[in-house]
């Protein structure tokens, strides 16, 4: 147990837990912290995980992030171009950790359009990307680097990119239990959907973060258990693996001002 760790490293370790019970699935972490979380999980709690080089090959060993030097040998195990990624997505054997712009109380997310009308949004973003398919096909988790009520909004997403636990939108012949949203890891806390009727539940608070801080910055009501533990600090082993997977310290640029992990 180390006390000298950054908030980014805390989030990476907390997010890695999302993949612990997955078995042999493709772990896709989009962004530095989710990718390092998936890499850490593959090297610790779940060695059966699969990861790609974020380009076209499946890897037996995750690649460190950033320039890897001329002598680096990538541990390819199979071709995995984008067309084949969808073979995997539709098989359900995947767990994606992504960072949408809006998340509502149903776990629906928005990556496409904010405000205005759909025909003329105030702010156009990426588009739906693979979120619709991911959300109905396999497990999904979210990483939010700046927990606020602009991300965790009080109403429904302006554009619903991914299906959530919204009874109003349940497709005919299906059950909300088929939707599988796992963890939400933010700069303040860890949440899941294990509250009553899939309500978002507070799982743990990062060291030095108060319950009120989380509630004030969340646009919808959370299910708060009587006992809310503190997010576990990274172990020395975890920090060593993270350092090896991120030799260029890209994790230091993911959360504003790169705070320390323990803010108490």
């Amino acid at each position: 147990m180390s006390n000298d760790y950054s908030l980014a490293e805390l989030c990476i370790c907390a997010a890695a837990q999302a993949f612990a019970g997955d078995g042999e699935v493709l772990a896709t972490g989009i962004g530095v912290i989710p990718r390092l979380a998936a890499s850490l999980a593959m090297k610790t709690v779940n060695p059966d995980l699969m990861m790609t080089d974020s380009e076209a090959f499946m890897l037996a060993e995750p690649n460190p992030i950033g320039e890897r030097g001329a002598d680096f040998v990538q541990q390819n195990e199979s071709w995995m171009g984008f067309s084949r990624i969808f073979d995997n997505v539709w098989s359900g054997k995947r767990h994606a950790m992504l960072g949408p712009t809006q998340v509502d109380r149903f776990g629906q997310s928005n990556t496409s359009a904010l405000g205005g009308s759909y025909e003329q949004p105030k702010v156009m973003m990426l588009g739906a990307r693979g979120f619709p398919g991911n959300s109905i096909s396999h497990a999904n988790s979210f990483f939010v680097p700046a927990h606020s009520d602009r991300v965790f909004i009080d109403g429904e997403c302006d554009f619903v990119s991914s299906i959530g636990y919204n009874p109003e939108r349940l497709p005919r012949g299906r059950s909300l239990d088929e939707v599988d949203i796992r963890l939400i890891v933010t700069d303040l806390c860890v949440m899941d959907f294990a509250g009553p009727d899939h309500q978002v539940r507070l799982v743990s608070l990062h060291p030095g973060v108060s319950q009120d801080q989380v509630l004030e910055n969340t646009g919808f009501p959370l299910h708060v258990p009587d006992e809310v533990p503190t997010t576990a600090a990274p172990t020395a082993e975890q920090l060593a693996i993270i350092a090896a997977m991120d030799p260029h310290q890209q994790r230091a640029m993911q959360i504003k001002d790169n705070p320390v992990g323990d803010r108490s």
Binding site: F82, F86, K122, P132, G133, S161
Partner: protein, 291 residues
Amino acid sequence: MDKQMTAAEVVAQLEDGMTVGIGGWGPRRKPMALVREILRSDLKDLTIVSYGGADVGMLCAAGKVKKLVFAFVSLDFIPLEPFFRKARQSGAIEVSELDEGMMLLGLRAAAWGLPFIPTEVGLGTDVVSKNADLKLVDSPYDDKEWVAVPALKLDAALIHVDRADARGVCQIAGPDHYMDDMYARAADKTYVSCDELVETSFFNDPAQARLVFWERSATAGVVHIPGGAHPSSCSPQYGFDVPHFKEYAGFARDEAGFAGYAEKYLQGSEADYQSAVGGLDAIRALPLPTY
């Protein structure tokens, strides 16, 4: 048989209102020289189908696009394509917004002569509720509802490849051919630009022939344009041009807008364009991205 033609001859084959598919992915292996030729033309009212990058941004900015069929438009390291955003935020274009995999199913349906492919993808999301092009269907084998992804038939497809022969045998030597094979098959006419023109015998080696993803009958025209993917990448030959994309994005922020970019880079011929960006050697020297 010789399918070689010029970029201008390709664009002369296109008509206002056509549905045009563009291969590649975001900033990767886009047929940008062919796109530039469209920008130089008076072609208009196009429906564009693309895993979009600057191809979509430029065509929108130049007013060539009536409707866009897309799942995303992005330059990767610049996540939000600036001119695509302007087009959407000004309500300038109609859209058919799909999931990435749905778009693949739609291209496959068109390639395989299927009317649609039913999928659960999109259910419960606004990709279905906001898209009048998508209808739901029942299955004769269960009681669920399914999204019927319609065949995305293309009047033409534009694709950039590493190598081609004059007969239309095309090789994609990079790590991923993306969905380009299905673009080629979904289109009535597929026009490719290639970095390298080779003899047919180049493909005799099975290892080379394995990197050919559609048969020559699916290629209508071949344009030999070394560096033709610039500013997008053509891995393993060259990476995408980060400074160029940054400058391009900069134009979206200042007064000049796309007109400023066009004035600087699109006034003359493709040869003029290549010298304006530093010449072919500079393009070939662009480093490959590390993911």
